[in-house]
């Protein structure tokens, strides 16, 4: 939901995807906030001060603990 904040716990995906996400800063202990989340389609999150759009499939692989 928009406005939700959390901390990344882990990323469950293929090596390539995990690597790419990591390089972009989606690492465990990184703080994430959801900015825009519509019923379907990509999400917009704020991470490390950057605005990143990620597809839903990608988002589902990122496990986050809510704060």
């Amino acid at each position: 939901m928009p406005g939700e904040k959390g901390e990344i716990v882990e990323i469950r995906g293929g090596r390539g995807l995990v690597r790419r996400l990591y390089e972009m800063g989606f690492v465990p202990s990184a703080k994430v906030e959801i900015l825009v989340s519509n019923a379907a389609g990509p999400l917009l999150v704020s991470i490390n001060g950057m605005r990143m759009a990620i597809g839903r499939g990608v988002a589902m692989k990122i496990i986050v603990r809510r704060r």
Partner: protein, 659 residues
């Protein structure tokens, strides 16, 4: 020769900085990855000539993407004297990752802390001295847009060229350092590798299971020892990335003091533009406005150019005694130039509007909105942009596909691009539609565009199922801050994209018109200076290919026009003009009287023009962007599809009672 390389994340103002250093005008865009080619420049500082290379904007230096490999290999092999790392001061945490990697690579780094003004505006306070101390590299705050800090940057660069600071390394935790040591032990013996690469960096890359480096280990005697270590190390590459971020986090804590994040303007705009219900309608509204602007506002200018050349042609005809020369100048040169330049206002208007959207940052949002739909079609969200541009001209559209990282996605996007009805085809639609459909012409034309989109969807799905199995690559895109586009940069962008059209298409179109003139006027005596078309070369040619088009009910003239349309789609109308013996102005009436088309055959003809293979210029660009076999495949499918669809239209129409 002293060389300085510039590197940094996308969207940090790297290109602006490059311009300020070298004084060259370059392409500046918010859409990440457009600046994919290396750029070089030069400046002089205190008498010393300094070469500057602009490396691709990347987030890191893995072997996963071409951009990153280019950057990395340049630093290793090109051995620049200094690497300027441009960092976005409002985003230190994320940008420092690349810095980290550069230091590991052993580069002689000078940091340009760019967008200093924005950070200031946001009350972000950065302790520059402390950062310098912790990283042990010079750090210069800069504002690339105004030039602030550039002099100091040049000074630090030259200082670093003279004498580099000590090579401090950032150390990982014990576990990782242990493994690094183990690998270094083994690699130490390999003279060949050590000469080229820093030892520690090699070790780390191996632990990261870097593809490029691992390839270099093939066949080495110690390879199985390395494999042993890797097996024991397990998922160490993830730990390495994690620890890097932890170290960076520590640095940030000591160096950055910022006020609690409140809403930014960009956040506010994204609430509206990415809204689940309003987002797409707003996108459509902007799109519609863009096309209205492109076609309606440019119309008078196109007309003015048209009239000018027609007038010029008249003058030539009246004042030159030699009929052949007169005809050449009037019907050849003037008509040719006119045909090309008439499109200039339209094309440039389109690219201007596109530039505004791009510079403001909206285009990335468009990709975001379109992703859902694109995914279902087997495409990537980013594919929507080239498809959009394709409505103006396929050439820059195909080039815009470079921003799509995944090869398969990219190729599919390129292959369906010709089905996006480019602006060159519009005159043909307008001409035929207005003659046969009269008041309903607009509907007929609109249906062509829809047909193109529908076919593109089908072909995309087909390609996805057969040749390029798999799903589109995951959608991960950075949405840059919204910015107010400047007139200057918009005009620059417009020129950059538009000039492709002028050069490639312009030369082709011009050549084609001259060619047509020649073929329709010669043999000179037989045709009486171009009046009796039936006796000309073009007629002979037309009759020769007539059988191909007869089944579809098109006469030889229509067939010839299609043939020349292959060279440049704009030539179709021009050919009609030449064959009917009139200037472009009078084509409509002449065509109406000549009665070449019935509503059914005309409609099928329009569809054929929409689909059949892309103009030569487009093909040339395709060959550059992808393997020849795909280009050939594109040509093959488009021409086949064109015949099929035209045939179907006529077939169904016939059954429905049309003739």
């Amino acid at each position: 020769m002293v060389t300085v390389a510039i590197i940094g994340n996308p969207n940090v103002g790297k290109t602006e900085l490059f311009n300020k250093l070298t004084g060259l005008k370059q392409h500046v865009g918010n859409w990440p990855g457009v600046t994919a080619e290396k750029k070089e420049g030069r400046y002089v500082y205190k008498g010393e000539k300094i070469n500057v290379i602009d490396l691709p904007g990347t987030y890191s230096l893995t072997a996963y993407s071409i951009d990153e490999l280019i950057a990395r290999n340049f630093i290793i092999e090109g051995k620049p004297d200094v690497v300027v790392d441009i960092i976005d001061a409002t985003n230190l945490e994320r940008n420092l990752y690349l810095t980290f990697l550069l230091l590991e690579l052993g580069a002689n780094v000078v940091i340009a802390l760019n967008m200093w003004d924005v950070a200031r505006g946001r009350d972000i306070k950065i302790d520059v001295k402390k950062l310098e101390k912790l990283l042990d590299v010079p750090v210069v705050p800069t504002v690339a847009t105004t030039g602030e800090g550039i002099d100091k940057l040049k000074e630090e660069i030259s200082k670093a060229i003279e004498k580099r600071r000590s090579r401090a390394t950032l150390r990982y935790g014990e576990e990782i350092e242990d493994f690094i040591e183990k690998v270094e032990e083994i690699l130490k013996e390999d003279e060949e590798l050590i000469k080229k690469y820093p030892l520690r960096w090699l070790a780390i890359k191996i632990l990261e299971r870097d593809e490029e480096i691992l390839k270099k280990l093939e066949g080495k005697p110690y390879k199985n020892k390395i494999d042993e270590i890797l097996k024991n190390a397990g998922e160490i590459e993830e730990k390495i990335v994690e620890e890097r971020y932890e170290i960076i986090s520590e640095i940030i804590k000591e160096v950055v003091k910022e006020k609690k994040e409140k809403w930014t303007f960009s956040d506010m705009l994204d609430q509206v533009f990415l809204h689940r219900i309003l987002g797409i309608p707003i996108f459509l509204a902007l799109l519609y406005a863009m096309f209205q602007f492109t076609f309606s506002f440019s119309a008078p200018f196109s007309d003015m150019i048209d009239m000018f050349f027609a007038w010029l042609g008249e003058i030539a005809r009246e004042n030159i005694s030699n009929p052949m020369l007169a005809s050449f100048l009037a019907d050849g040169i003037c008509a040719g130039l006119g045909a090309v330049l008439v499109f200039v206002p339209t094309i440039f208007a389109l690219f201007f509007a596109l530039a505004l959207l791009e510079d403001s940052g909206y285009l990335a949002r468009a990709a975001f909105l379109m992703d859902k739909i694109m995914y279902k079609l087997g495409l990537h969200g980013k594919s929507s942009i080239p498809m959009l541009i394709g409505f103006g001209c396929n050439i820059p559209a195909i080039m815009a596909a470079r921003t799509i990282e995944n090869e398969k996605d990219r190729i599919i996007t390129i292959m369906i691009n010709p089905l996006m009805s480019c602006s060159a085809r519009l005159p043909v639609y307008v001409l035929i539609a207005s003659i046969i459909f009269g008041g309903y012409a607009a509907v007929a034309i609109f249906s062509m565009y829809l047909l193109g989109i529908a076919l593109a969807i089908i072909v995309a799905l087909l390609l996805r199922k057969t040749l390029f199995k798999g799903k589109p690559s995951p959608f991960i895109l950075e949405l840059p801050r919204y910015m107010l586009p400047t007139l200057r940069s918009a005009l620059l962008h417009m020129w950059e994209r538009g000039k492709w059209f002028l050069i490639k298409a312009g030369t082709f179109i011009f050549t084609v018109v001259i060619l047509i003139w020649f073929l329709s006027a010669f043999p000179w005596d037989a045709t009486n200076g171009g009046e009796l078309i039936e006796n000309s070369y073009i007629a002979s040619f037309g009759h020769a290919i007539e059988p191909i088009f007869k089944p579809l009910g098109w006469n030889w003239q229509a067939g010839v026009a299609l043939f020349f349309g292959f060279l440049a789609k704009e030539a179709v109308v021009g050919t009609f003009g030449s064959l009917l013996g009139v200037s472009e102005e009078g084509v409509k009436n002449a065509l109406m009287n000549a009665g070449w088309f019935t509503p059914l055959t005309g409609f099928a003809y329009m569809a054929f023009v929409l689909i059949y293979f892309p103009c030569v210029a487009t093909i040339a660009v395709m060959l550059r962007e992808m393997k020849a076999k795909y280009t050939l495949l594109t040509i093959a499918y488009t021409i086949t599809l064109a015949f099929i669809v035209a045939g179907l239209i006529e077939g169904i129409g016939y059954l429905l009672g049309f003739s």
